[in-house]
């Protein structure tokens, strides 16, 4: 590695830590890491906590974690991008997660998501331009007995149809 990239890396890290010093949530995150004794194998737990605190994983946050756990940034970034649960983009004010498990699918979850995509004019995985609603799909939330299930802001709603889903979404607008 050349000296120039090293300096650049160090200054990038310094900027991230500077950012961290002014935000209380970084403190909470550090306490959480301490609870895990800054163990490197607790990386996924730490990322969960970070996403819970910040809503999404921004670059500075990942750099902060990599510095504290003494892991290369590539490793932290690699893990954060591997798992579907972590998101590197900010989420909308409300989230709507349509379960696309097999049971939900055969009972019409595809029609629910189609209706939502059309109504919100976004594809699944995107957030509306006004930042109000994020539309997501889940692999299976294990609520197959009440399929099709949709999670609105963390609350699972049973036996959804295109009509009930649109009604719920319209309340958010």
């Amino acid at each position: 590695m050349t000296a120039a990239t090293k300096t650049k890396q160090a200054s990038r890290l310094a900027a991230a830590l500077e950012h961290a010093s002014g935000d209380k949530r970084f403190k909470i995150l550090e306490v959480h890491m301490k609870k895990h004794q800054f163990r490197q194998d607790a990386l996924i737990e730490v990322l969960h906590k970070a996403q819970e605190l910040f809503g999404y994983l921004e670059d500075d946050l990942l750099l902060f974690i990599s510095a504290k756990l003494k892991l290369p940034p590539s490793r932290v970034y690699g893990v954060a991008t591997f798992y579907h649960f972590f998101t590197l983009k900010p989420q909308g004010e409300h989230t709507c997660v349509v379960c696309m498990g097999t049971a939900c699918y055969v009972k019409g979850a595809d029609k629910v998501i189609e209706a939502l995509q059309e109504n919100l004019k976004i594809k699944s995985g995107e957030t509306t331009a006004d930042g109000k609603v994020s539309l997501l799909t889940a692999r299976c939330i294990g609520a197959c007995g009440i399929a099709p299930a949709v999670t609105y802001d963390g609350q699972v709603a049973p036996k959804q149809t295109a009509a009930t889903a649109l009604e719920k979404i319209n309340q958010w607008k």
């Binding site: 490197q40 996924i44 591997f82 097999t102 049971a103 692999r139 294990g142």
Partner: protein, 555 residues
């Protein structure tokens, strides 16, 4: 903690039993329909009616009949008699009527039949306590004989005897592949190493399956006790419970359970005042299907990207951080306690010659009675679908039953008399899988289903090996072409060739089984594919020979 203390807790809890118990299902399914509010309203009404001395309102785990939820069960204990009632589709505002009916009042809430075939045909070993105990109260578990098996093992049996007992029971891994559990335990026990680990695989990723979620939510101590017994048998002192992030309720109940068990000295150092130590940590997954594969799961526990690695070495020899590691599914661990308490012979009396015991299935899809069932191995599929499940709703015909999720296959209606065990399902090109059973009726398009699963595998492929990473994309592309009516017979042949290649050359189970849904639908519903094919402008061999063919004649 000694046996007397355990018995004292049980006796105290038993003495507190009241005449009537209102069991409110508070599993993820019923919770989504305000089960918490139902429980609160029931409590308020019991108080208002001054019936606190007689009526207990209890939070319980899954009762199984999820499609009819939220459920409230009523137990009447009187003069040694036990009488049961069941209310379905309960709304929070129904609570006062249910409480008043205990005093003889009118109650319009829909009643369920607790002796319906859906319940009556079940044999409950794993789910014996599900829907009866409060999962957040360890005393409820202890009063039903909880942690007695662990005491028995620690004080009366040698580790080798425990392995022997499990081997004798014929228990096979419930994660899907059906590897003999006793053999696995024996290998880990024999592996040299000062440090060993026990891992519980709760990464239930198959869409359409929720057995493990239900067991973890309803009876977390059963799994913890099973893990502790396993740890004693193989010589481990540290356990990891890997649970999906999609199951927040299961995670919080496990956290409570571990805390309570530690407080009572049933986990931790010197359990039952023996030299045996065992700690359990929860590891939360982050949404990667491939982490259900054991080597990928171990990478994830170590905080890395969940990619599999070649086997051997098997985890039993070199697993977590290079130490011998025992990995079993949630349901496998949940069977252990019963085998120890009631004996291997008792356990082996259920099931078929090669598949012993019971299996929990999540019966979902186009079926009248949705929910969780536990049945003895070898039960004909028809009994499950028609008698217990009540067939397809709305006068439709059952067309196929999908088992094993994206790694399994579809069993067509003409094979419904197949006994459900590892071998019979394998012969039909499907697998037992972890227990998802999705029923499809005559309105379901099988090619779309195959495409649905292929899309799933394509998204979930970790990208480490090429056959799976590139093969699933190509197979999905071909399936898309077929469903759009743009494919020819040659595309179908290419699809079959690819299936064969991906199946035989992928690194891990995900890739090796990804073609299964296509292969099994092709085997039984080939005409649905062929109906969508277009005539090939270049002839069947693609060499421009003038030979013409109709859309239907693909072979």
């Amino acid at each position: 903690m000694q046996l007397e203390d355990l018995n004292a807790i049980a006796a105290k809890r038993k003495a507190a039993t009241r005449k009537v118990c209102l069991r409110t299902c508070m599993s993820a399914g019923c919770m989504s329909s305000q089960a918490d509010l139902i429980k609160k309203n029931l409590e308020t009404e019991v108080k208002a009616q001054g019936m606190e001395a007689e009526v207990e309102v209890r939070r319980v785990g899954c009762m199984g009949f999820c499609g009819q939820g939220p459920l409230v069960g009523v137990d009447h204990h009187q003069d040694g008699h036990h009488h049961e009632e069941l209310f379905e589709f309960v709304k929070p505002e129904d609570a006062p009527a249910i409480v008043r009916h205990l005093k003889g009042g009118e109650c319009q809430v829909q009643r369920g039949d607790p002796h319906h075939p859906f319940f009556a045909k079940q044999v409950k070993i794993v789910r014996a306590n599900g829907g009866l105990v409060d999962p957040e109260n360890i005393e409820d578990y202890i009063v039903l004989g909880g942690y007695q098996a662990l005491h028995q093992v620690l004080t009366e049996m040698k580790p080798a005897e425990v392995v022997e007992e499990i081997t004798k029971s014929g228990l096979r891994g419930r994660g899907g592949a059906g590897y003999p559990t006793g053999l696995k335990w024996g290998t880990v026990a024999k592996s040299a190493g000062a440090k060993k680990y026990v891992v519980c695989n709760g990464d239930e990723g198959d869409p359409g399956a929720f057995m493990d979620r239900s067991v973890l939510e309803s009876d977390p101590h059963l799994v913890l006790e099973g893990m502790a017994i396993a740890a004693y048998a193989v010589g481990a002192d540290q356990g990891f419970l890997y649970v999906r992030a999609e199951y927040p309720l299961a995670i919080s109940r496990l956290q409570i359970a571990i805390k309570q068990a530690k407080q009572l000295g049933l986990l931790g150092a010197g359990i039952f005042e023996t030299p045996f130590n065992f700690n359990v940590d929860i590891r939360i997954g982050a949404g990667a299907f491939v982490c259900g594969e054991e080597t990928a799961l171990m990478a994830s526990v170590e905080g890395k990207r969940g990619t599999p690695r070649p086997r051997p070495p098997f985890p039993a020899e070199s697993g977590l951080w290079g130490c011998p590691t025992l990995i079993n599914n949630v349901e496998t661990f949940a069977n252990v306690t019963a085998i120890i308490t009631k004996g291997a012979d008792w356990y082996a009396s259920f099931g078929t010659e090669k598949s012993k015991g019971t299996k929990v299935f999540a019966l979902t899809g186009k079926i009248t009675n949705n929910g969780l069932i536990e049945v003895p191995m070898g039960i004909p599929l028809r009994q499950i679908v028609e008698e217990m499940g009540g067939g397809a709703p709305g006068g439709h015909q059952v067309k196929a039953v999908q088992t094993g999720g994206p790694s399994g296959g579809c069993i067509p209606a003409q094979h419904l008399d197949t006994p459900v065990d590892f071998e019979s399902l394998g012969k039909l090109g499907s697998i037992m899988g972890s227990g998802g059973m999705v029923v499809m009726d005559d309105t379901t398009n099988m090619v779309e289903i195959a495409k649905f699963y292929m899309e799933f595998c394509m998204d979930e492929s970790c990208g480490k090996c090429i056959p799976c990473r590139a093969g699933t994309v190509q197979m999905h592309h071909l399936l898309e072409k077929i469903t759009k009516r743009q494919a020819t017979a040659r595309d179908l042949a290419k699809l079959e060739e690819l299936c064969d290649m991906v199946k035989n050359t992928s690194l891990c189970g995900l890739g090796q089984t990804a073609p299964n849904p296509v292969l099994s639908t092709l085997r039984f519903f080939r005409e649905e594919y062929e109906r969508l094919l277009q005539p090939d402008p270049f002839g069947p061999r693609g060499n421009g020979s003038p030979q013409t063919q109709s859309a239907g004649a693909a072979h």
